[in-house]
């Protein structure tokens, strides 16, 4: 027994000795040094990668932070409570503004001079009488009675209440004079000033007055434009990709077409706008500022993106699937329709949605075809004058009022939300239909 064990130990020793004797180059000091350097290089690379990701994330946080920081106040809007007497004759003549003003004067009876009263007038939004009118229309029985109403404050009042106009500045340099501030203090003390959710922002079209301006018109304009874009570019783009990838002979012509499609995808969007201006407006005489034309231009711009993405998705379908289908006697069209296209669909949809998201965020081509106009009405059809969300942002960013600055940021947030939603949908679709074969 012990003999056996000893023998075993001995064989192990000899084995170990023979290993050291023929020490391979992979065990040499030089090699381990090389190995160490390889690992060090890998660590450096990882650190560099992490730093890059860190910097990118930081910039994103700064960007989003500044937009949110500037924009979140726009979701609230100051309102003023007034005790109005709905005098019958004034209502019948449609003089709602005097009704509101009388109520306001009653709050600060000490201000009696013309200039002071004009200051008081400026506390209310020019949209306030329409609110009152709507109330009366909805419930005519209140005519002749006393009512408590909350009406929109002027945008400067709103900015003052949000603290963007400071009261410790000399009156001459302040946007709100002492009379206004005095009246507001009195109203606030009586609980007659409140900050309410800014529904106007989501229901109204554009306006010269910030407190009456909204993005709904722009959202509808963007939606109509995108509908046209999608209806045109998706079927045409997929059909073109399927033809080029699955049916077209590979020759000089298809090579030329391929090069051109790739080039088109890189053409600056404003060029497409100029094209739209020249062709759709100039040659075909289509209406200016119309979502129809915007959609056509965006479709031209999105087509190459969709074609390229679809071709990539089609290429990724393994040829063995095509052979399998052809092998049981499917025609080439059946092969594509029953097998290749369904497998490529997630990729195609992802590309399409990303193309659509790009179209949604695009401004330049719309400027060229007149979708940059000041449009108050909500568009109802493809040929109505309309603007789009990014163009609305562009226009508001140009406005001097402080209240438009915060609305610009708010509109950017809404646009970002839509873009995130669309890209999220693309990721979701890709994950859901991802297949391995």
């Amino acid at each position: 027994m012990t003999d056996l064990v000893q023998q075993d130990v001995r064989t192990q020793e000899t084995r170990a000795m023979s290993v050291t004797a023929t020490k391979s180059r992979y065990q040499s000091a030089e090699f381990s040094d090389r190995l160490r350097r390889r690992y060090a290089a890998e660590r450096r690379f990882r650190l560099a990668g992490m730093a890059a990701v860190g910097i990118a994330s930081l910039m994103l946080v700064v960007l989003l932070g500044s937009i949110v920081g500037k924009g979140y106040t726009a979701f609230w809007q100051t309102q003023i409570r007034l005790e109005v007497t709905l005098d019958k004759t004034q209502v019948e003549e449609g003089n709602y503004m005097p009704v509101l003003r009388q109520a306001l004067y009653a709050v600060v009876p000490e201000v009696t001079d013309r200039a002071g009263r004009r200051s008081l007038n400026e506390l209310l939004s020019s949209g306030a009488p329409y609110q009152l009118e709507a109330m009366v229309k909805a419930n005519p029985s209140i005519v002749g009675t006393k009512q408590t109403v909350w009406v929109l404050a002027d945008d400067e009042v709103d900015q003052f209440m949000k603290g963007f106009i400071r009261r410790d500045v000399p009156e001459s340099e302040r946007r709100l004079n002492d009379i206004k501030i005095g009246a507001l203090d009195k109203l606030a003390a009586a609980g007659a000033v409140k900050s309410a959710f800014n529904t106007t922002l989501f229901t109204a079209g554009d306006s010269r007055e910030p407190e009456q301006a909204g993005i709904w018109g722009a959202i509808v304009g963007s939606f109509l434009t995108l509908v046209v874009t999608m209806l045109l570019s998706v079927p045409i783009g997929i059909a073109a990709a399927v033809y080029l990838e699955e049916f077209a002979p590979k020759n000089r012509w298809t090579d030329l077409i391929e090069v051109n499609i790739n080039n088109l995808a890189a053409v600056p969007s404003i060029i497409f706008g100029l094209l739209g201006l020249a062709v759709f407006l100039g040659f075909f005489g289509m209406p200016r500022s119309a979502p129809l034309v915007g959609g056509l231009v965006m479709a031209l711009m999105t087509l190459p993106v969709i074609i390229i993405a679809s071709r990539v998705a089609l290429k990724a379908v393994p040829p063995s699937i095509r052979e399998a289908a052809l092998g049981v006697g499917a025609s080439p069209l059946q092969t594509v329709a029953h097998h290749v296209l369904p497998l490529a669909m997630p990729g195609i949809l992802t590309g399409t949605i990303i193309g659509m998201a790009r179209a949604l965020g695009e401004t330049a081509p719309l400027l060229m075809i007149g979708m940059v106009a000041f449009i108050v009405d909500i568009p109802h059809g493809l040929t109505d004058s309309a603007t789009a969300l990014p163009v609305q942002i562009y226009m508001w960013a140009d406005s001097p009022e402080r209240a438009f600055t915060e609305r610009t940021s708010a509109a950017i947030l809404v646009l970002l939300a839509f873009l995130i939603l669309m890209n999220g949908l693309a990721v979701f679709l890709r994950k859901k239909f991802e297949r391995r074969w």
């Binding site: 399998a324 289908a325 052809l326 092998g327 049981v328």
Partner: protein
Amino acid sequence: MSVQTQFPTASAPLRSATGGPLLKMVARDVKVFYGAKQALKGIDLEIQENRVMALIGPSGCGKSTFLRCLNRMNDTIENCRVEGLIALDGEDVYGHAIDAVQLRARVGMVFQKPNPFPKSIYDNIAYGPRIHGIATHRDELDEIVQTSLERAGLWNEVKDRLREPGTGLSGGQQQRLCIARAIAVSPEVILMDEPCSALDPIATAHIEELIDELRENYTIVIVTHNMQQAARVSQKTAFFHLGEMVECDDTEEIFTNPRDERTQGYITGRYG
């Protein structure tokens, strides 16, 4: 692609000059070019009905190319050109009488790598019959699926999970699924291109048994790199070398008494 046929209305004999069994497929002076490169240099071959013909030869000698001519799978390859005559039941398959889609329904194919559709087992089998309108009713289709799977020796293993994806089966099961899929459209000829090269020995044995059983109803052409396999499953063997068909004879003859020294060299393992 452009297919050039020298004899657009040509036809081939249904029996060989010496009599014997019916000739299911006949190849006469088949030349294939990939662009300027010639892959087949005039192949003459007769494939007998209800027999298994094995094609052997070193890699790159054109076995797959020849096989793919038999059901015009080469049509899908860009700049592939086929010359010569290939006949099915005496009719030129590149002629006007036979359409490529129709031909592939009559001459089925099993590929080297199992390639089930990423669909359910049931749909894998039912796809062919559906597009060819072989089955109109649900129960007819069910029956085709069952008999095809039974013939492929897969029914007992999958009968409880016909709705599960065919890609979830093991490699050997997938290949039998592909054979069942080929059988489901009731072809006359089944072409198999190294059907076992991706399979383990047990799965290979399964498929070999299956091929032997299928011979009763189908004509089979199989490409293989495995000499034993060729010897086990085939009655006729053709040896290909550098784009030429060197010799074709009864399998026993080829393996025991090859006439050409290249054949002898290959089967004794001197090169390949």
